[in-house]
């Protein structure tokens, strides 16, 4: 009889516990995702602006990023800047600010196909005086075409050999962004 009592008591406890659950479930908008990479290039001489963009509004969902790139002028020097956005937030969150704030852990690398006549120079620096790459200069050579890849590396070794000159070979770390743009210089 005693065991029956205990069993019923336990069952009661169990039922209480089962009912105390709330059914509200909150939508999560991902905080950390970078959905959009926008490169703005300004030709100081003519004030002309060119843009490259990679935009992936479903994050790690099945859709591929949408890639757009303007054609560049030959033998021109562009002031470049990069904007990282999380457009899942409303209004869109500017992630560039975070990247710059944690500049010592981040670096943007520009990888051009050998066929593409471009030269990049970093124009910014982190607390250790290593480049970040959010601000840069892009100088084009003769008319040519090829892929340009922009990589944002997180937590790599920014003191590694060649890193400050823009060579990612020895940097390691993990890739936060990798976008490849087909570029034509005309």
């Amino acid at each position: 009889m005693k065991s029956l009592k205990i069993t019923s008591l336990l069952s009661l406890l169990f039922i209480f516990a089962s009912c105390s659950d709330d059914d509200d479930v909150k939508l999560i908008n991902e905080e950390e995702v970078i959905t959009t990479l926008t490169v703005t290039l300004v030709d100081n001489a003519t004030n002309q602006t060119k843009t490259f963009q990679s935009r992936d509004l479903d994050g790690d969902g099945p859709e591929s990023p949408v890639i757009t790139a303007d054609n560049l002028e030959a033998n021109t020097t562009y002031q470049g800047s990069i904007l990282f956005l999380n457009e899942l937030e409303d209004p869109a969150e500017n992630i560039t600010l975070e990247v710059v704030e944690e500049g010592a852990e981040h670096q943007v690398f520009f990888v051009s196909a050998t066929s593409l006549q471009t030269t990049f120079t970093y124009e910014d620096a982190d607390a250790n005086n290593n480049p970040i790459g959010v601000d840069f200069t892009l100088t084009t050579g003769e008319a040519s075409s090829g892929n340009l890849s922009i990589i944002l590396v997180h937590d790599g070794d920014k003191f590694a050999e060649g890193a400050a000159a823009g060579d990612s070979t020895n940097v390691g770390g993990e890739t936060d962004i990798e976008a490849t743009f087909p570029i034509t210089i005309q």
Binding site: D58, G61, H154
Partner: protein, 803 residues
């Protein structure tokens, strides 16, 4: 007339006297009701007479010159409850008396391990006893179990290990802690069991699903961990074990204390602490592989012969660093890691545990009560509460590394009522009903989409298991179980994923709300499962035993298989669950032959497991995100067949020296696609030579050798995709070699151990060198084999006090 009566009377008397020839013989054994083992020196008295027999050391008894008639026998044994048995004797008879062995001989029982019995006799069972557990006290639960033949570990790095039983792991292996089925998010391959090895006094591995009282879904097997039981005497005892390790520069400390009284009251407590910093491979530091663990448990209760209760609480709390180099961004990073021989991130030795890391707390509260019911058996009721909080931290931007990327709270209530019918001489019958309620809550504060959604789960199961002693030679066990499971989940899907999965067509009616880019859905599942088991134990003489078992297990898809939907940084893949998955069903035949010759003992355990609707995770394509390209892994259901054999033998050269060997092999085939199944343990062997030197204060020395062959049977899941070559700037088609297994390896270990006896205490000192030759190797069953070598040499000093 009177004369006639007298004559008849005389005649009758003569007849009776003639019939009472009194030449019958009654013989047999006195055995333990639980496991049919012999009970030596039991006394069997014939009620109403002075006749009695005493069983010998092997439990054998004999009565000679008995007359025909009805007899009542009273059987008694020092450590058992008295029992009487009635039957009629009409001829010579062989009969086994059964007694229920009680736990008032703790010391003896601890030595023999007999305290922790198992009811399934037909399934191959192996165990770790208290001595072995003490030796392994420094290891995690999963690593320690790998000592058992046929058990391997699936690991994620150096500190997360899950047991694999005969090729199966995670949701296919049930872990029972103190008679409670662990609900610790066991579905995840990188979720180690939340159980402290030091909290166990005995661990059994049942290599099959025959133990239906624990669940019907043990496709691989069941691991039963039992804490220290209290003796029925006035005593207090305890033990403390300290381990110091050179590799990781840390160690652990575990201590336990138990006080009990003759009246049946007891109180026990146990606690352990573990700390180590970065582990070291032979050539480099494995950065961020430190571990912290704090565990405590206590219990009290009253155990009388006819009733009793127990209360138990345990907390398992751990923080585990994950190899920094294993957190990668995209396929190019993965390809770099595979091709580079060293991890992409190596730092100096450090005790700090940074992201990526896991923090897990597991609470278990258990209350149980039992009462013996005359002429029926034992009624048991048990309530268990488990709360599992798992936080996983990723390398994140903007100070978010401090914020968990995954934060799950899993709460489970279980009620089990069981009736153990023991009134029949030959038949032991268990009937039980188990019900549970589970809630999973995924904390939205993470700012990362939920990997596992919020859900409620209700289960109701009932089972009947039985053991029947057919005769001296054969014991049969059989069981059946039915389980009902109801799952009610609230899951957000990205609209793009919802459509890509084809759910828009199949599951349109489960959408609750449309948030634009995401949909809130309400998947509901009801599963009805049957499982069963039939087997027999043949005792062909004292030294030969054959066990054979056939069992059917049915397993529901787990939350990860149903709902997974997102990126895993640890292996750079996108993992997708499937709402359409069905239950998988396993048909397993398990045979075991154990035989002892003079100095040679061996056991051979072949098995065959055929699994319908086997759920397997496989790459199905590539998806590109702004981070770059990732392989997509999807669940597929197929027909699987596993053939395997576990064998072990030991040979005693003389009183001082013995040799033990183990070998395990498994052949696993996806019969639908005619290809091997992924992540199966390769052929492995273990050999240990032990030498004891009594005149050197009982110094014991051992040398052991472990060999793991290269797993030649793996499915070719390599795929080719465009990867950026950072030298040329071109996207080049590249083959990603994720399938290839690492090379074979062998390891040598040496151990020296010496006991010291004092008045009240025992001291044991043990020095071990693991991986003496500091061999560099990688293990196929480590999910981080792409990134780094396994741990190098370790020197361990263990000191144990028993008091």
């Amino acid at each position: 007339m009177r004369f006639f009566v007298w004559v008849s009377f005389l005649w009758l008397t003569t007849f009776t006297l003639q019939a009472q020839d009194c030449t019958f013989q009654l013989s047999g054994k006195v055995i333990d009701i639980h496991d049919s083992s012999a009970l030596p020196y039991a006394i069997i008295k014939i009620e109403g007479s002075t006749k009695y027999a005493e069983a010998d050391a092997k439990g054998n008894y004999i009565f000679k010159n008995l007359c025909a008639g009805n007899y009542t026998f009273e059987i008694s044994h020092v450590s058992c409850e008295k029992r009487s048995v009635k039957f009629e004797l009409t001829s010579d008879k062989v009969f086994n008396f059964k007694l229920e062995h009680h736990i008032d001989e703790l010391n003896e029982v601890l030595l023999t391990g007999k305290l922790y019995q198992n009811k399934i006799l037909s399934n191959s069972i192996q165990e770790l006893n208290q001595k072995q557990i003490s030796n392994l006290s420094n290891l995690s639960f999963g690593e320690a179990l790998a000592q058992i033949n046929g058990v391997s570990t699936l690991s994620t790095g150096t500190s997360i290990s899950k047991p694999i039983i005969q090729g199966m792991h995670s949701s296919r292996v049930l872990i029972i802690n103190n008679n409670v089925r662990m609900q610790d998010q066991q579905w995840g391959v990188d979720h180690a069991p939340n159980l402290d090895i030091n909290s166990a006094a005995n661990i059994q591995v049942i290599k099959g699903s025959a133990a239906l009282q624990y669940g019907g879904d043990a496709v691989g097997g069941v691991i039963v961990s039992t804490p220290q039981k209290a003796p029925l005497t006035d005593t207090i005892f305890g033990s403390t074990i300290a381990n110091i390790n050179s590799n990781g520069r840390g160690g652990n400390l575990s201590t336990s204390l138990l006080k009990s009284t003759k009246k049946g009251w007891y109180f026990k407590t146990q606690a352990s602490l573990k700390r180590h910093g970065d582990l070291e491979a032979p050539d480099y530091v494995l950065s961020n592989t430190g571990v912290q663990e704090n565990n405590i448990s206590f219990g009290f209760g009253l155990n009388k012969i006819d009733s009793g209760f127990n209360a138990y609480y345990s907390l398992f709390s751990t923080e585990i660093g994950i190899l920094r180099a294993s957190h990668i961004g995209n396929l190019r990073d993965l390809e770099n890691s595979i091709n580079s021989l060293v991890p992409s991130f190596i730092d100096g030795f450090n005790y700090q545990i940074n992201s990526p890391k896991q923090q897990v707390n597991h609470h278990l509260v258990k209350l149980d009560y039992f009462k013996k019911i005359k002429n029926l058996g034992k009624l048991k009721a048990q309530y268990a509460f488990q709360f599992n909080r798992r936080k996983e931290f990723d390398v994140r931007r903007g100070e978010r590394s401090e914020k968990a990327a995954l934060d799950l709270e899993l709460t489970t209530h279980q009620v089990l009522t069981q009736l153990e019918v023991r009134q029949f001489d030959r038949l032991a019958l268990d009937i039980g009903v188990e019900t549970s309620f589970q809630n999973n809550y995924a904390n939205p504060e993470t700012g990362v989409r939920r990997l596992i959604p919020d859900y409620d789960m209700f289960t109701l199961g009932s089972f009947v298991t039985s053991t029947y002693n057919l005769n001296k030679l054969i014991t049969i066990d059989a069981g059946m179980r039915y389980d009902f499971t109801h799952i009610d989940a609230l899951k957000f899907y990205r609209v793009s994923r919802w459509e890509e999965r084809g759910y828009a067509i199949d599951f349109a009616d489960i959408i609750l709300e449309d948030f634009g880019t995401q949909l809130l859905t309400n998947p509901v599942f009801n599963f009805h499962n049957f499982s069963s088991s039939l087997g027999a134990l043949f005792k062909l003489g004292e030294e030969t035993e054959i066990r054979s078992n056939f069992s059917l297990a049915t397993r529901n898809p787990n939350p990860s298989e149903l709902f997974s939907d997102g990126l895993h940084h640890s292996i750079a893949n996108i993992e997708l669950g499937d709402l359409r998955l069905k239950q998988e069903q396993s048909y397993k035949v398990n045979l075991s032959l154990s035989q002892a010759f003079k100095n040679l003992k061996f056991e051979i355990n072949p098995y065959f497991n055929a699994i319908d609707n086997f759920m397997v995770l496989e790459p199905s394509g590539i998806e590109t995100t702004i981070r770059g390209a990732f392989p997509v892994f999807e669940y597929r259901q197929t027909q699987a067949q596993l053939w395997g054999i576990d064998a072990e033998a030991s040979y005693q050269f003389n009183k001082q020296t013995s040799l033990q060997g183990q070998i395990a092999y498994i052949y696993a085939e996806d019969v639908s696609l005619n290809q091997p199944i992924i992540n199966m343990p390769p052929l492995n062997t273990r050999l240990e030579l032990v030498h004891n030197q009594p005149n050197w204060n009982n110094l014991s020395l051992s040398v052991s050798h472990e060999f793991f062959a290269k797993q030649e049977r793996f499915p070719d899941l390599d795929f080719s995709t465009l990867i950026l070559n950072t030298e040329t700037g071109e996207l080049e088609p590249t083959l990603i070699n994720i399938s290839e297994s690492p090379a074979a390896f062998q390891l040598f270990h040496v151990t020296a151990e010496m006991p010291f006896k004092f008045n009240q205490t025992d001291l044991r000192v043990r020095l071990q060198v693991q991986n003496i030759f500091n061999t560099s190797y990688r293990n196929y069953l480590n999910r981080q084999r792409y990134y780094a070598d396994e741990m190098g040499r370790n020197i361990q000093l263990q000191i144990q006090f028993n008091y």
